[in-house]
């Protein structure tokens, strides 16, 4: 992408969002699509979130236990540091990078296929605001379900650490449990939830933009899907940095 076309894409994205973020023509149709979105984008993502969070949580604890092996540091530090990593970064940023692949590519390819098979043209011809009808429920449902995914990720990440302590015994389960409770700040959970909701908006809207503006055939839908994952990943990392500085800095 050249610099000029990137600037053009930002403009196109802004114009698309102007069409998307309006009151739906029919609220009951919006609610139907919202519920579908909660199920397909949110509930269907729970399993991948749970599996990845469990193993990453276990690996984080294992790495920290192996690398912070100093008589100067108490063993409960393993649990405490693991908790901070999981709550602050893993359950929001890293999980959203994974979801940008799963949910983002799903949205981009679904809307892209609708574009190239003229289904979006059919909506426009009927007088339906196709951008609002197709994209708004996806954004709203994904953003609304994000806190659930984050909480699942936090819990299973910490559970993964618990299980590895149970298996290896270093640190002991009691020390780990003490560590994950030590110096706990509830605000970190809210920070993570709000950050993931911002990422949820970015993932759904950017993916929808790439799908909605797809042209051509199957190859271009694939490209739109890939581009949405790449751009989403960069945006998540960059906006995570800005968000962290603004909220915690």
């Amino acid at each position: 992408m050249s610099f000029i076309s990137s600037i053009e894409s930002v403009g196109e994205y802004a114009l698309l969002m102007k069409k998307v973020l309006t009151i739906p023509d029919r609220m009951n149709e919006f609610l139907k699509e919202f519920i579908k979105g909660v199920f397909f984008l949110g509930v269907n993502s729970i399993w991948i979130v749970v599996i990845i969070s469990f193993f990453i949580g276990a690996v984080i604890v294992l790495q920290i236990a192996l690398n912070i092996d100093s008589p100067m540091l108490p063993r409960f530090t393993v649990g405490m540091v693991s908790r901070e990593i999981i709550l602050l970064e893993f359950s929001s940023s890293i999980m959203c990078l994974i979801l940008a692949g799963k949910v983002g590519s799903n949205i981009a390819s679904e809307i892209g296929t609708m574009r190239i098979t003229e289904q979006i043209d059919a909506l426009d011809i009927m007088g339906v605001n196709s951008a609002n009808y197709l994209i708004l429920p996806k954004i709203a449902s994904f953003v609304a379900f994000m806190p659930v995914l984050v909480v699942f990720s936090m819990f299973t990440g910490l559970l993964g650490g618990y299980v590895i302590c149970l298996i290896l015994g270093t640190p002991s389960v009691e020390t780990y449990v003490y560590g994950i409770q030590a110096f706990f700040r509830e605000s970190f959970i809210w920070y993570s939830i709000f950050k993931s909701m911002l990422f949820g908006f970015i993932i759904a809207s950017v993916a929808a933009y790439f799908g909605y503006t797809a042209k051509g055939g199957a190859l271009e839908v694939g490209q739109a899907s890939t581009n949405s994952v790449v751009v989403n990943s960069v945006l998540i990392l960059a906006s995570g940095l800005v968000f962290t500085q603004l909220v915690l800095g």
């Binding site: 149709e29 003229e118 289904q119 059919a122 009927m126």
Partner: protein, 254 residues
């Protein structure tokens, strides 16, 4: 009635349609014919507002579509039904849900009445037994018929069809043609069909417009198409061996 005045469409400086003037009457099947790449689908997309013309006017019963605000465009579009080349049915909805969709969005009737209307439209295209099937479970001809049922669900004043017979066998093509013709007459719609299928022209074309390289080359009715002196139209019509032989047989008969 739809009138087109001095319509011009360019893509990146390349002229695709130039100075098109035409009128399409109520209760008639108006056919736009021409070779592939002649600009007929671009003309259709300009007529329904999927593409903006570079210059010119498109008047729907006197209202210039080109200058309308987006809300007025949305309102006018509720009077438009369109049959797309690939049917453009919504994959995630059943046949009945597809036909009910425009009613769910814009009709103030209750659900029972909306369902009754959708079933009436499906009965009109002989597809009442396919209501619970998904688009992936039905044939190409059935998809076209569902798309017609969806297009007429809101009782449109204007019906647009983009290559309604593409990819269909001759028998199904004839069925679709007859359906378009009957619905046009029954509901007194202004129907515009883009096609390069000469069988359709002969079957249902009340009025025929021939587009060649972005310019309106010829205008007439179906009975005049076969006997025209226009060389470019003759080249197009008699490109098919079948039509060549029909013409030769007629000439032999005198």
């Amino acid at each position: 009635m739809i009138e087109v005045k001095n319509l011009r469409k360019e893509f990146d400086g390349e002229v695709v349609l130039n100075n098109i003037n035409a009128s399409f009457q109520n209760g008639m099947v108006n056919m736009i014919i021409g070779k592939s790449g002649s600009g007929k689908t671009v003309l259709l997309k300009c007529l329904v507002g999927l593409l903006s013309p570079t210059s010119g006017e498109i008047r729907y019963d006197g209202r210039n579509f080109v200058g309308l605000k987006s809300k007025e465009v949305s309102r006018l579009r509720r009077d438009i039904g369109m049959l797309f080349q690939g049917a453009a049915l919504f994959d995630s909805r059943t046949v009945l849900e597809n036909v009910m969709f425009p009613l769910d969005m814009f009709s103030r009737k209750n659900r029972r009445e909306r369902k009754k209307r959708a079933e009436f439209c499906l009965e009109r295209v002989n597809l009442l037994d396919a209501v619970n099937l998904y688009p992936s479970e039905i044939s190409g001809g059935m998809k076209k018929r569902v798309a017609i049922a969806r297009a007429i669900a809101l009782n449109p004043k204007y019906l647009f069809c983009d290559e309604p017979n593409s990819g269909l066998d001759p028998k199904t093509s004839q069925l679709i043609d007859e359906l378009i013709y009957d619905l046009t007459k029954d509901f007194s719609m202004t129907t515009i069909v883009v096609s390069h299928d000469m069988n359709s022209v002969i079957n249902i074309g009340d009025k025929v417009i021939f587009i060649n390289e972005g310019v309106k080359e010829w205008e007439g009715n179906k009975s005049e198409v076969m006997g025209t002196d226009n060389e470019k139209l003759n080249d197009f019509v008699f490109a098919s061996d079948l039509f060549k032989k029909i013409k030769e047989a007629e000439e032999e008969k005198g």
